[in-house]
Each structure stands twice: as C-alpha cells, then as structure tokens.
Amino acid sequence: MQKTDPRTVPSTAASTADSISIRGAVKIYGSGAGQHVALQNVDVDIKRGQFVSIIGPSGCGKSTLLRLIAGLEDADAGTAEVFGVTPERACAAKMIGLVPQAPALLPWKNVLGNVSMPAKVNRRADTLRRRIHGHVARPAPDMLDLLNKAGLADAVHKLPAQLSGGMQQRAAIVRAFGVQPDVLLMDEPFSALDEFTRESIQEQLLDIWDEQKTTVVFVTHSVSEAVRLSDRVLVMSARPGRITASVDITLPRPRSQSMLKTAEFHHFEDLIRDHLQTAWQENPMTGSTPIAAGAIR
C-alpha cells in the first residue's frame, strides 16, 4: 500500500484530508480454485462527519472493507487513506475507534476501567495527532458523562459479566467514542441483540454521534438499521465483493422511534431492498446455500 506522509504531500492532501478514501481496492483470499475475491476495485469516499452504512449479504466483503480502513488488513492493490494519512498512521494517532461484533471488553476491568483503557495505551498518539493535517483538536471527553448518556450510569462499577449483552455493547461504544476518534468503525455491533434493545441502543448511538460529530462507518445486514442511522448507505454485492449502489438517506434528523413507521422511511427501505435484490439476481451465489436477498431485513 502506498505510504503517504501528510507533511510531504502538498496538493492531494488537501483533497483527501477531509475524507476517508479507498481507491481501486482489491483483496483476494486464498489462491487457485479456492480463491475468493473479497473486494474488486472498490472506490469509496466518506466525508468527515458523515454516517455511512455498508450493507450487503454475508461474504460480500463489507467487513473486509471496514478492516481495510482500520488498518487491520492490507489491500492487495489500491490505496486506503483516512483523512489524508494511511490507516496505520491513523491508528498510531488514535484516529480510529473500533466497535467489533462482540463487545470485546476486558472481563477483569469494570465498565469505567474498560472505557478508560484506550487512554492508558499508546500515549504518544496525541502528539502525533496534532501534526496531522486537517485534524480538529477536541478536549478529552468526560467518560462518566459519556457513560451516563449511554444509559450506563448504574453500571459504572460493574464487571462486564454482570451486564447484559446490550449493556456490554454500549460500554464498547463508549470506549470507542472515548478516544475522540476521527472515525468510528462499527462492524455489525448490534447483530447479536434483540430487536427492542437494538432500537434503544441505536437511539443512544445517534444522540452521542450528534454531539461528537464523528465520522461513522457502520457495517450492518439490517436494512432498517442502515436507513435509520445513516446519511448514506452503500450497497454491496458478493463474489466478487463490490459496491453496487450508494443511496443518500435524506430523512431529517433527529430520527426518532416513530419515524420508523413513516412512508418516507419505508421508501428508503424499499429502495435499498431493491438494490440488494438486483445485485443478487445479477450474480447469485453458485453452489452454496442460497441466502436470498429476502433474508436480509
């Protein structure tokens, strides 16, 4: 992958410094007959402050795309830049907050200890961050205040094992917000939660996001979740993994629970379902379990 030093790149830095940009990303797993093209020439541009969801069937490479931005994986071809710097450098500057599918809390630390953990590692990040072009400095958040907003006020001193799955995932979200990341990467964070919990946690996520104005890249397989949360939804298709549509969700914010029942909301849901269906029909998965587009909520 191309290494870009923000201090030495003059003109292009200005254009990419304010967005996450993936150019011609290719990622291939395995080789020979077992070869699987997870990403084929994927181009993505995500502006600072946007909430973008990536939706698609299982195995379409949406998680791979997220891992590419997180610097957890290198592309076989193409480039990935996070606000003008390489993902690796973005990690070094703690510009990235990751919320994985499992809460991934440390079981021996209570909630407060867990959300304070990012501050204890990689202490040089702040210095590095200030030198990155276009970076907006923000004061460190009050973790207790953030926990409060996430509905974890009573759980501050509890261990993860004493919390429900929804509470654990809330703590994981607070932990990610705690580093004041430039971008929050969320990999199907609510997929293990029940419908009721999911809707309440979505609302809290939007509340905090509204305050922090962080860029969010949200991987999901739920159409209504994508519509409710996002400014823009990227629809992906599998084999080879590619982006087939980009839908701007122009619904007004704040988006309350009641909006879920409106016609406009359904309009966007149908639009995305159609895109998923089309992508599916163009390229149905061969030889494996047919996961129809209808299986996608």
Partner: protein, 289 residues
C-alpha cells in the same frame, strides 16, 4: 447468574436496587463459610473417615508391619512435635524456594515463547521432553553432581514446577479473543502494553490452574530430592527414609501425615489467593451471586 440487569433504555429506568458490591460479597461469603456446619455437608465425609479408621485399626491389629496402629502414629507425633515441625519446615522451605525459582524461570520463558515464534519452536520441544522425563530418575544424578546441600533439592523442585506453569501461562497469554486484539491494534497499543494490560491478565486464570497443581507438586519435588540424598541432614523425606530403614513405621506415617497436612494447607492458600485475584472470572461469577 442472578444479577443480569434488565435492559434500560434510559438511565432513569434502572432504580438502584442492587446492594453495594462489598456488602453483597461479605454476606454471601459468610453464608458460604457457614455452609460446612450443615450435617448434609460434613456427614458423608465423617462416616467415610470413621469407616476407614476402623479398617485401618483392624488391619494394624492383625498385621502391624502393614500399618502401624493409629494410636502409635499419634504418640509419635505427640512425643516429639518439635522434631516434626522442624523437619516439615525444612521440607517446606525447599519446596517454596524451589517453586519460586521454577515459577520465575517458567513465567519468563512463557512470555518469551508466546511473543516469539522462534523461541517457541526452540524451547517447547525441550520443555516437553523434560516434562515427560521422570524426575525421580534425575534426582540421584543431581545429588551426585551437587552433593547433599540444598542445590539438588531446589533444582528438582523447580523442575517439577516448571512445565505446568510454562505450558499454562504460554497458552493463557495467547488466549485473548481476536476482537479484543483488533480493538487494541487499532489503538496502536505497543507489544509491552498489550502484554501488560491484556495478555497477562488473560493468562491469570491459566496461571492459577497451574499453581493449584504446582503448589502440592513442589512438596513432592522436595521429598523426592530428600529421599534421593540419603545423607541429607533434615526434611520429612529424610525422616521417612531413616525411619523406614529402622522399621519405625509409626514415625514414617507421622511424617506422611505431616506432608499431607502441608500439601492441603498449600492448596488452601493458593485457592484463597485465586478467589481473591480472579473474582472477575466467569468461574467465580456464579458462586458470588
């Protein structure tokens, strides 16, 4: 688990009904501590002990060279408690110092092995071969090499403790879930930070599993070394070997009794420490609540 808090949409919905954590812990510990008073708890053990005692006494009466009468063992202990205490202390000291040496060596190696694949490939095969070699066979050789001083005893004890700790800690250090690793990778945590904040705490349950095996094992190591060094000055192993060659079966069993007590005490201590340190672990959560 009984304390799964209901999902609160907002914070007002969760009233503070949970008692403060320390109070709850004290109360449940108290209940647990007093549990042994119930007959259902101690009666089966008491019945079995009395049965075994009768069986022992009958055997001892008929063939005194098979087992000494229990009274004789008690007399041997009562006649000279200072003698047994001094020798027990000598054995215990060897066991604990040897354990400490083995612990430090194996822990350092475990970190090395889990961090460096090269070290793993080089060290693990040797460690496995060492672990399957009977220590009883090595002990006499060490006595020849190092004489009747404390060195061979400490080496044998350290060796016997070495492998369980190495294998468990090495496994524990690598038991961190991929999701946790990803979170800390995106934070660009250094290897040392990862080791200290994530890997070592993750390895603690594995370490205690090893320690529960190794604490009693350290006494075995010390006794084996003492038995292999016939000229050694003290230690319960020496007492046993001298007394058995003099046909003083009561003294042998008195010493064995002391060893059993020592082993049990060590096990109790390590379990108590484990309960303290691993209060967060899922194996403790069920009991606590």
């Amino acid at each position: 688990m009984s304390v799964i808090t209901p999902e609160p949409a907002t914070m007002q919905e969760t009233p503070v009904t949970q008692p403060a954590a320390p109070a709850a812990t004290t109360r449940s510990t108290l209940r647990k501590r007093l549990g042994f008073l119930r007959p259902a708890y101690w009666l089966p053990l008491a019945v079995l002990l009395v049965g075994l005692g009768i069986l022992w006494s009958v055997t001892a009466r008929d063939s005194p060279y098979l087992l000494p009468p229990l009274a004789a063992v008690g007399e041997a202990l009562a006649a000279n408690p200072g003698f047994y205490l001094a020798n027990a202390w000598a054995t215990l000291a060897v066991a604990l110092v040897g354990l400490a040496i083995g612990f430090v060596a194996s822990f350092v190696l475990a970190v090395l092995v889990s961090e460096l694949p090269v070290a793993r490939r080089a060290i693990m095969p040797i460690a496995v071969v060492l672990s399957v070699t009977p220590l009883v066979a090595i002990a006499p050789a060490l006595v020849v090499a190092f004489g009747f001083g404390p060195e061979p005893k400490l080496i044998v004890t350290a060796l016997i403790c070495f492998f369980p700790i190495l294998i468990n800690v090495a496994t524990g250090l690598r038991s961190v879930s991929p999701a946790v690793l990803q979170v800390f990778t995106t934070l660009h945590a250094s290897r040392l930070e990862m080791l200290w904040h994530v890997r070592m705490p993750s390895a603690l349950p594995y370490l205690f599993t090893a320690l529960r095996v190794v604490f009693p094992l350290s006494i075995i190591g010390a006794v084996v070394a003492e038995l292999s060094a016939p000229g050694a000055a003290d230690g319960l192993g020496t007492v046993i070997s001298v007394a058995s060659s003099n046909n003083r079966l009561a003294v042998v069993y008195a010493a064995i009794f002391c060893l059993a007590i020592m082993g049990s005490l060590l096990l109790l201590i390590i379990t108590a420490i484990e309960d303290r340190v691993l209060h967060w672990h899922e194996s403790r959560q069920g009991a606590k609540n």
